[in-house]
Amino acid sequence: MLRYLGHRVLLLIPVVFGVITISFFLMHMSPGDPARTLLGPKASQHSVDLLRHQWGLDRGLGWQYLHFLGATVTGQLGDSFYFASPIMQLLRLRIPVTLLLMLMGAIFAVVIAVPLSVVSTTSRHSYSAAVVRGFNAVVQGMPTFFIGSMLILFLGLKAGAFPAGGYPSSGFPAQLRALILPAFTVALGMVPLLVRSLNASMTEISRSEFVAFGRAKGLDRGRVMLRYVIRNSSIAGISILGIQVAVLAGGTLVVEQVFALPGMGSLLMDAILNRDYPVVQACTLTFAILVVLIYLVTDLLYAALDPRVRQV
């Protein structure tokens, strides 16, 4: 197990390296100059050049890349061009918001998806299954920003039940409340695929012999469903959930923008718009690490839950 873990962690290094390399060159290739963006169109070329020199942007791209790699490996993320403050400090404020959003989103998604999949598994070909399928297809078709803005309009502004956006700087309960609608939006993005795969694995499991045996033994339907079917399909469910959460790590960019949340996604979006190279680098690095860690944890959980995988 330890060897397996070590091997897996080693495999992550080239992936993270590849991501930051690509994002470095993409950012430097994109039009627009950070110094010009910060100083505005009326600043003199001289002051722009001075700032570029100070940031090391007047050096060769190769030098900048090596410098950046060296700094990243030694854990120095440097200062933001735009905010002129240490990036570490920015990330420390922003990361918890995004993590909490993703966690709440995942919990909501499971809470919504499991009952729906049970309904569509136990009563296949019935009206309720058709309703679940219809719900799935409709939700899958709705873009995240649209779901978000509809929730803001109806539950936030019209009903006034939840904050319509923004994030209080202190007070954990208030922060949680501010994340309810965003997390629900994130969850709805994950539900269709989750229901679909859970339904497939539940259907497969309920056709297996040990389930038939459980029923034959006289156990009631609910118990068979819970102990035999749901428990076994949770293995497949976890791997799908892992992939979904990893995919939605990037999707938080959209949700945070719609709900005006001060998370990693909105930091990154602003950084891209401001050509704030160091922040873009730091954010993609963080997102990449987050994504590969989620995949790793998913695989480990999978192995822990399913003894058949561990032996390989």
């Binding site: 495999l11 080239p14 992936v15 993270v16 590849g18 991501v19 690509i22 994002s23 993409l26 950012m27 290739m29 994109s30 039009p31 627009g32 009563s123 296949r124 070909h125 019935s126 009206y127 058709a130 399928r133 799935n136 297809a137 409709v138 899958q140 078709g141 709705m142 873009p143 995240t144 920003f145 649209f146 803005s149 309009l153 502004l157 679909r196 795969s197 497939a200 259907t203 497969e204 056709r207 992939i243 990893a246 995919v247 790590a249 990037g250 999707g251 960019l253 959209v254 923008q257 990154l268 979006m269 891209i272 873009v280 954010c283 993609t284 997102f287 990449a288 994504v291 590969v292």
Partner: protein
Amino acid sequence: MTNAGTTVAVIDNGIGVPLRTWAPRFLRARNLQLYAGGLLLLAIVALVALAPVLTPYNPAATDPLNALQGFGGAHLLGTDNLGRDTWSRLLYGGRVDLTIAFLAVLVPFVSGVLIGTLSGYAGGWLDAIVMRIADIVVAFPFYVLVITLVFVLGSGERSIFIAISTVSWVAYARIVRAEVLVLRKREFIEAGRASGIGTTRMVFRHVLPNVITQAIVYSMSDIVMNIGVIVTLSYFGLGIVPPTPDWGGMMSNGQQFLAGGYYSLTLVPAAAVVLTSLALSLVGDGLAHALRIHR
């Protein structure tokens, strides 16, 4: 994503399968989803393709005197804040969105299927390299890659198409590769190889036809996702450049008027997006059923 070996046909003896169904008897035997979805999709494509014939107004023509009109009257679906006809914009916008969404599936489909097949069939260092590249693309937050790519390339249809294509071949490559790995161990492939059939012929005649069905089914949900991405990019002002109508642009433009009670400006294009996705999902499910793939 999908488990290996799922293409094996399941013989349904009818025992233990609930017979209750919501479809009338004459439809039950047929593939209802495929027909309903196909019909809906055909209708949408026809409407969008015939946009010049079906729309009485120029989608970009403004008419401030008739701004923010309701349904009916001279404008079937009303007008937006600049007095542009919503029905015309809807159809012309659909042309733009659906064309990119479709093209941005075609290219990744072909490249992803080819890469996945070759990588799975050849194995070794080629496979290792391809899968590491796939890992990197997957670890890159999707919208970050797309948004930075659109920045580098400049906004517009071509950039969106390139950005989506760079990312989404990975899913096809992974799906197909997993199938090939299973298929490679089957007797008929080994028999073919043993009897001296060349690699090119083996791949194109015997491997590819057996693994492509999963990819076809996946491509339906991929189009849905592409529409979502295109619309979202336009919403952020990074997609289709304004005078050209597009569903995302219409939705983001309409949002300013939601609080004032003008829901239709946002809801009409949203309904178009949802209906199109619904049609594609139905076709996808129907195809999966027809091809006996259990997802």
